[in-house]
Amino acid sequence: MTELKYVKAIKDGDFRGLPISRASTAVNMTGSWKFFRPHLVSKNSPCREACPLQIPIAAYLGRLAEGKPSAALALLREFNPMPAVTGRVCPNFCQNACNRMEFDEAVSVGELERYLGDLGLEQAPDPVTVNRTEKIAIIGAGPAGLSAATFLARRGFKITLFEQAPAAGGLLRYAIPAYRLPRAILNREIDNLLKSYQIDLKCECRIGPDETSQLATEYSRIIWAPGLQSSRLPAAWPRLPLIKGALEVLSAISRGADINGQRFLVVGGGNAALDTARSLRRLGKEVEIIYRRTLAEMPAYAAEIKQALAEGLVIHTEEVIENVKPLTTGLQLFIHKSRKINEQIGAGEFLRTATADCLIAAIGQESDLRFNEHNNFITAGDFAHGAASVAEALASGRRAAETVLQQLGILPVPENITPDLKSKSRIEYKQLQLDYYAKKPAVKMAELDSLSRKENFSEIHQTLSSEQMQIEIERCFHCGSCTACGICWFFCPDVAIALDREESDLESRVLFDYDHCKGCGQCAAICPRGVIEMEEDN
């Protein structure tokens, strides 16, 4: 038998004669060969740019995807003080900008925000103690006032929040119906803010323009966020007790007051019209909507219109009520076809008359507060910018807080509490590397069916289960935000990439070993989120 010298040597662990060495190649600084070097550059995701609150959606969802829900919630709260609320009532500007729309359909960001928001109901934010001597007054405890109070309290200010109603919340409490925003959720959200921050809430305390100078003696700054309390009525209509504004009716319903009458007509095409009509139907009333333009032109959120129609709500479109006459009981309404004259809608041919116990106008809101110029006059919310979404009101509250901080010299003037989006570029769909994603429809949340929901105020949508959240979070591309996914680490042919998954600075999670990186650019080409860029190496 031949003696198997070399085979035996291998068996005995003798590496001599094999191309294996214990010497390290680390001394070979192959990084000197490179002309380009990779570096991490976070970019603005389109969802973030679309969000009134500029929430870093890709980043906080990245933390959620990494299995760090508390960290995700903390980041979300930095930008949005009321995620359980916006997760329910926001029309999700983010989803209409989502890059994933070009791939299959938008990520259900609203549902994911709501998931975290609900988690946050059980975890009040970390308490902040007062470390500023200046006192701030905020008029109106709606979303804008609560937001301004939160952002200032986080900076150590003592806030006094004046509210004319019996409880805080503004339109969240007295307009948005409970089937969209359950009061238990709202109460919890507000309680958490009041628990964690030094906010002294004074309810049933109406402050008008006349009190301004008196307040100014006690408070360094005053933020006015009183909202728009009264509904506008068409000029052509007579002023009659049975003609009401939508806000008045919604407020009465929210307070649990008796609503007289059986047959209602609501005029308008916005969310207030739908909220009023659907709430009244839940109280067993007969309700129809009259809207002067087409269904497609209704300014109400599309999802709300869809739900209302599913519940069997009748919406008469392209009709106007030209005149109203009081009857012994109820009203007689003269309904005309609408007619467009130079972009203005007027009354066209007469269609029919109708009778109703009550006519409700939901065509807009206004304020009856009138002010004179004042030094420390800062406004926020609908009062400042006109009726808008809850997210816009929260953002406006934050901007008011920023103004206070800037005026007091705490924040340099060009800076905001949150980082400026202008310093970064926006990441487009084309810049993503999507080979790592399979087409997958968005998770559909459970919804009460139209029959079982239309007679009560039970919340229509349910929050995602943790399993559903897991499925949906995997759909997010995290455009422009490093998630330390490790694909660059895997592909780097020079083992010149290390990951720090615990690093919260998104631009420091991938560590490049420039001594050995040859600048091949594979990491930049392969990054699913487009955050690795190559720059010339000098």
Binding site: V7, G13, F15, L18
Partner: protein, 383 residues
């Protein structure tokens, strides 16, 4: 106990691979090999085979992926054919040079141009200098068994082994098979214990730059290990025979041939089956002919071949691969090996088939019948 089954050649191979429990499989589909990896992927999917199946975008990546997995100490498998094997070429050299064990199944197929998907051994013959062992199989049973033997030999030698089947002729035809019992295979082929592997706790540098003198020394050792390979393989084949009662050797005499004849046919692969029929008939007709099958092409078993050709006067080599400008590739190997015999036989180089050109028993019989007309210098192409 061995289970009987009638299976496609591709499935026979997949079953052979499964019995060897590779921890990693990576391959890219190419006709006529695709069924092998498809069947394996289904086995992995069904949970019958516990293995990491790495999908890749090319054969280059397939061989590179298993280069990584074997470096990390995992028994691995890949398969390819024709253009796919050609694409692996660079890494084939690296695999052997790095002394990493692997079994690769190649379904022999022609290389273009012109485009052709049928049986032809040019693809693997043109890789014979890459440092891999090469074994050519005649039947699907032989292929199944050879995979098991090859893993054992490969891991002892720390050299990769390429196992060849003829595309379509074996891959796409059914055969009655004996499938070895898993426990017996586990006893024959214990789990791979890499003597060295990628390990962050015990860092090693693999295949880094070697200065000229060191490079020369390493290649000398490589060559010396290669010369030990036939012995290692024969030992593995002997152990296999003990366990499974089927015998294989680097050069095999076929019983259909006449051992005493001074004329012998040499071929390799599935064509041997056809040659058996032709030779049995020739001997019956009094045209005495011997038949030798070359199973091991690398390292070339010159001692074994010389031993059985010592008393031959004429060797007719049937080729299925061509080295253009020289002739049949197998003929060159045979000629070089027999050069050392004191009484060198005449070697007729016959190019009997390329690109799936059919070889019938009559085709081979006609070559023998007209052997006096064959050139003993130039390659003989069929008329």
């Amino acid at each position: 106990m061995q289970k009987q089954a009638i299976l496609l050649g591709s499935d026979a191979i997949a079953n052979g691979v499964k019995l060897c429990r590779p921890a990693v499989i990576s391959a890219y589909p190419i006709t006529p090999q695709t069924h092998i990896i498809e069947t394996l992927s289904e086995m992995v999917d069904r949970g019958e085979l516990e293995s990491q199946y790495i999908k890749v975008e090319s054969e280059m990546s397939a061989i590179a992926a298993v280069l990584g997995s074997v470096s990390a100490g995992s028994r691995s498998f890949t398969a390819s054919s024709s253009q796919g094997l050609a694409m692996m070429h660079e890494v084939l050299h690296w695999f052997a040079g790095a002394r990493l064990p692997l079994v690769l199944v190649n379904a022999n197929r022609a290389l273009g141009a012109p485009w052709n998907i049928w049986s032809d051994q040019s693809d693997s013959f043109s890789q014979r200098d890459t440092g891999w062992l090469q074994i050519y199989c005649e039947t699907s049973q032989e292929a199944l068994d050879t995979i098991i033997i090859a893993y054992k030999a490969s891991e002892q030698l720390m050299l990769p082994i390429m196992v060849m089947i003829d595309g379509f002729i074996l891959s796409h035809t059914m055969e009655r098979l004996l499938i070895p019992d898993q426990q017996l295979v586990d006893d024959y082929l214990p789990a791979y214990q890499a003597p060295y592997r990628l390990d962050p706790d015990d860092p090693l540098t693999f295949g880094a730059a070697a200065q000229p003198d060191l490079f020369y020394e390493l290649k000398k050792t490589f060559s010396e290990t290669m010369s030990e390979a036939p012995t290692v393989l024969k030992n593995c084949e002997a152990d296999f025979r003990q366990a499974f009662a089927r015998a294989y050797s680097p050069v095999m005499r076929c019983p259909e041939g006449d051992e005493k004849s001074d004329t012998a046919i040499i071929c390799c692969g599935a064509m041997t089956g056809t040659a058996r029929v032709a030779v049995a008939d020739l001997n019956k007709r009094g045209l005495s002919t011997d038949l030798l099958k070359i199973r091991l092409l690398r390292p070339f078993p010159k001692d074994e071949l010389c031993a059985v050709c010592r008393d031959k006067k004429r060797i007719i080599v049937l080729n299925r691969a061509c080295s253009y400008g020289v002739g049949g590739t197998l003929s060159q190997e045979v000629r070089a090996a027999l050069y050392h015999l004191e009484q060198r036989p005449l070697v007729n180089d016959v190019m009997i088939s390329l690109g799936g050109k059919e070889v019938f028993p009559e085709t081979i019989a006609a070559v023998i019948e007209n052997r006096e007309e064959l050139s003993s210098v130039d390659c003989n192409w069929l008329k």
